[in-house]
C-alpha cells in the first residue's frame, strides 16, 4: 500500500514539476514575443489570454508542489508549539486532522468547479483560438482535483504508516 501510494505520488510530483517548468518556458517565450510583436506593430489578440491561462494552470501545479513539500502559507504558531512539545501523538493528530480537512475542502471544491464546468459546457461559447470556454473552466476541477489527490496521498501515508513525503525547503 505504502509503495503504491508513494509511486502514485511520485508520478503526480513529476507531472506537476515538469508541467510547471514547461509552462513557464512557454509563458516566458510568449510574453517576450508579444512585446517584440507589439513593437513591430503586430499584436495577436490570443497571446495575452493564452499566457494568462497558462499562469492560471501554474497556480494549480505550484499548489500541487506546495502541498507535497508542506510549504503552503499557513498560520504556524500552533504548529510550532506542537512540534516543540515533542509529543509524537499530538503531532500525528494535528498533521492528519489538517490533511483530512484539506482533502474534504478540495474534494468539495472540485465537485463545485465540476458543476461550473458542466454549466459552461452547455451555455459557454468559443473563446480565443476557438477554444471553448468550458475547456478553460476545466482547468479548475482538474487543478484542484490534482491538489486533492496530493492531500489524499498525504493523509493515507500519514494515517497508515505515520509518514509523509519529506518536505523540501522552498524558502
Amino acid at each position: 500500500m505504502k509503495k503504491l501510494i508513494l509511486a502514485f505520488d511520485g508520478v503526480l510530483e513529476s507531472l506537476s514539476k515538469w508541467g510547471l517548468v514547461s509552462s513557464f518556458f512557454v509563458i516566458l517565450a510568449l510574453s517576450v514575443s508579444s512585446i517584440v510583436l507589439r513593437w513591430l506593430g503586430q499584436s495577436p489578440g490570443w497571446l495575452d489570454p493564452l499566457v494568462r491561462y497558462l499562469v492560471f494552470i501554474c497556480a494549480f501545479l505550484g499548489g500541487s508542489l506546495a502541498t507535497s513539500r508542506g510549504v503552503h502559507i499557513r498560520v504556524d504558531l500552533f504548529t510550532k508549539l506542537v512540534e516543540a512539545s515533542d509529543s509524537k501523538a499530538l503531532h500525528w493528530i494535528q498533521r492528519n486532522l489538517v490533511a483530512l480537512f484539506c482533502l474534504v475542502t478540495t474534494v468539495v471544491l472540485t465537485k463545485a468547479s465540476w458543476d461550473f464546468f458542466l454549466v459552461e459546457k452547455e451555455f459557454g461559447a468559443p473563446s480565443f483560438l476557438h477554444i471553448h470556454s468550458s475547456n478553460l473552466v476545466a482547468i479548475i476541477p482538474l487543478g484542484i482535483g490534482l491538489i486533492a489527490l496530493r492531500f489524499f496521498n498525504q493523509l493515507i501515508l500519514g494515517l497508515y504508516t505515520g509518514e509523509s513525503r519529506e518536505p523540501d525547503r522552498v524558502q
Binding site: C58, L61, A66, H72, R74, F101, T105, T106, A112, V170
Partner: protein, 421 residues
C-alpha cells in the same frame, strides 16, 4: 450550525491548515448557508484568469530567485562596499542597499535573509558591530525594500485593491527611502566608538566593481525606466526582466546552468507563486461574499461611533495592521484584509495609494514584530541563534520603523506628491 462550522474552520486554521483551504472552506460554508450554489465559488476562482497583471507575479518572482541564486549578491556587495563602505556606518549602509535591492525583487523576505544575510552578518560582526546590532540589522533588512518596485506585495495589493500598479510603484519610492534613511542614520550612530577597520575610497575598485556588476545594474533601469518612460507596461517589464536575468546569468556570467539550475529555480519560485495564487483564488469567493453582505459597511458603522476623524482612524488602522502583520503572512493579509478596509478607508477620505503604502509599511514592520514576525524565525534558523535573542536584537529597529511609519502615515504628501503635481 453555521457557528460550529465557522469555529471548526478557525480552529483548524490555528492548527496549521493552509490558508487557501481555510479561505475555500469559509467561502463554501458561507455560500452553503446563504443558499447560493457552491459552484459560485468556482466562478469567483475563474475570475483570477482574467486579471491582466497576474503575469507579473510569476515573472518577477522568478527574476528575483535567479538573482538570489546567482553570484549577483557577491558582485553587488563588492560594488556597494566600494561606493559607500568608506563612510561612517558604511558597511551597515551596504547591508541596507543590498537587502532593499533583493527584497524588491524576491518579495518574500525569507529569500533575502537566506541568500544575502549569510554574507552580510559575518561582515558586520567582523567590522566591529555588536552581534546584537548585526543580527537586528540583517533581520530588519530582510523585509526592507518591500515598498520598492517591482515588489510582489505591491503587485498583489494592486490586483486586490484594483489600484494602478504603475502608480503604486511610484508611491512607494519616497516612503521606502525614508525607512532606509532612518535605519542608515541609526547605523551611522552605532558605528561611533567601535574600532572599525579604516576603509579608504578607491576609484579603481569602484570602477572594477561597477564593471563586474554590469549585468545586474541595468535591471532597475529596465523596470522603472521602461514603465515610466512609456516603453513597456508593468507586465511587459516583468517579462523582460525575467528574460534578461535568465540570459545574463546562464549565458554571460554563466553563474547558473540552463539544464541543472534553471528547472530547480523555476520549481522553487513557482511553488511559492502557486501557494500565493491559490490563496488569491480561494479568497476571491470569500471576500466577495463579505462585500456582498456589506460586512465592511457594518464594521464602518460600528467604528463611526467611536472614531470620528481621519487621524484617529489612521492610528487605529496602524495598531490593527501591526497586529495583523505579526500574526499573518503578508500575502494572506493583503488578500483577506484589503477588501475589508478599503471601503472603510474611503469613507474616512484616505487616498487609496496612501492607504496602500501605509498598509504595506505596517506589514513590513510585522515581519520583525515579536512574537511571530517571520523574519525573526528565519534569522534564528539561518544564524543558529535562539529566537529570544532575535526578539531583543529587533526591538530598537522596531521602534525606529514605527517612527518611520508614523511619518509615512501622517504626511501623506510623501506618498502622493508625484500625483498632486
Amino acid at each position: 450550525m453555521s457557528l460550529i462550522a465557522y469555529s471548526s474552520i478557525i480552529f483548524l486554521a490555528l492548527l496549521g491548515a493552509p490558508i487557501f483551504a481555510v479561505m475555500a472552506s469559509l467561502a463554501l460554508v458561507a455560500f452553503y448557508f446563504s443558499g447560493i450554489e457552491l459552484s459560485a465559488v468556482a466562478v469567483e476562482i475563474f475570475r483570477l484568469a482574467s486579471a491582466p497583471t497576474i503575469l507579473t507575479i510569476p515573472l518577477f518572482t522568478f527574476a528575483g530567485y535567479v538573482l538570489a541564486e546567482s553570484k549577483a549578491p557577491v558582485r553587488l556587495l563588492r560594488l556597494s562596499q566600494a561606493a559607500v563602505g568608506w563612510m561612517p556606518g558604511g558597511v551597515a549602509i551596504v547591508c541596507l542597499f543590498i537587502c532593499a535591492f533583493f527584497t524588491a525583487f524576491t518579495g518574500a523576505s525569507g529569500v533575502t535573509i537566506i541568500a544575502v544575510g549569510g554574507l552580510l552578518y559575518p561582515m558586520l560582526v567582523k567590522e566591529g558591530y555588536s552581534e546584537k546590532f548585526s543580527l537586528g540589522l540583517v533581520t530588519t533588512c530582510g523585509s526592507l525594500g518591500l515598498l520598492f518596485p517591482p515588489s510582489l506585495p505591491i503587485i498583489l495589493y494592486g490586483i486586490i485593491a484594483k489600484v494602478d500598479i504603475d502608480q503604486l510603484f511610484l508611491a512607494g519610492l519616497v516612503p521606502g527611502f525614508i525607512l532606509m534613511l532612518i535605519l542608515g542614520l541609526y547605523s551611522m550612530y552605532q558605528s561611533r566608538g567601535i574600532a572599525r577597520k579604516k576603509h579608504t575610497f578607491s576609484l579603481t575598485e569602484l570602477k572594477s566593481s561597477l564593471w563586474e556588476s554590469r549585468f545586474e545594474l541595468p535591471i532597475p533601469v529596465f523596470v522603472l525606466g521602461g514603465i515610466y518612460g512609456g516603453f513597456v507596461t508593468a507586465t511587459e517589464a516583468s517579462a523582460l526582466s525575467a528574460f534578461y536575468v535568465l540570459i545574463a546569468n546562464c549565458f554571460f556570467t554563466r553563474d547558473l546552468s540552463l539544464s541543472k539550475d534553471l528547472p530547480r529555480i523555476i520549481v522553487e519560485s513557482l511553488t511559492l507563486v502557486g501557494a500565493i495564487l491559490l490563496i488569491l483564488c480561494c479568497a476571491m469567493g470569500l471576500t466577495n461574499y463579505l462585500v456582498d453582505e456589506e460586512v465592511p459597511m457594518k464594521i464602518l458603522a460600528a467604528m463611526q461611533t467611536f472614531i470620528t476623524s481621519k487621524l484617529l482612524f489612521l492610528l487605529v488602522l496602524n495598531v490593527f495592521l501591526l497586529i495583523v502583520g505579526c500574526l499573518m503572512d503578508i500575502f494572506s493579509a493583503i488578500i483577506v484584509v484589503v477588501p475589508l478596509i478599503l471601503p472603510i478607508a474611503e469613507q474616512f477620505g484616505v487616498n487609496p495609494l496612501h492607504l496602500a503604502i501605509v498598509f504595506l509599511t505596517n506589514l513590513e514592520i510585522g515581519y520583525i514584530t515579536p512574537p511571530v514576525g517571520i523574519n525573526l524565525f528565519i534569522s534564528s534558523f539561518r544564524f543558529n541563534k535562539p529566537v529570544l535573542e532575535l526578539y531583543r536584537a529587533s526591538v530598537p529597529f522596531l521602534f525606529l520603523l514605527i517612527i518611520a511609519l508614523l511619518i509615512i502615515t501622517y504626511i501623506p504628501w510623501l506618498t502622493l506628491f508625484w500625483f498632486n503635481s
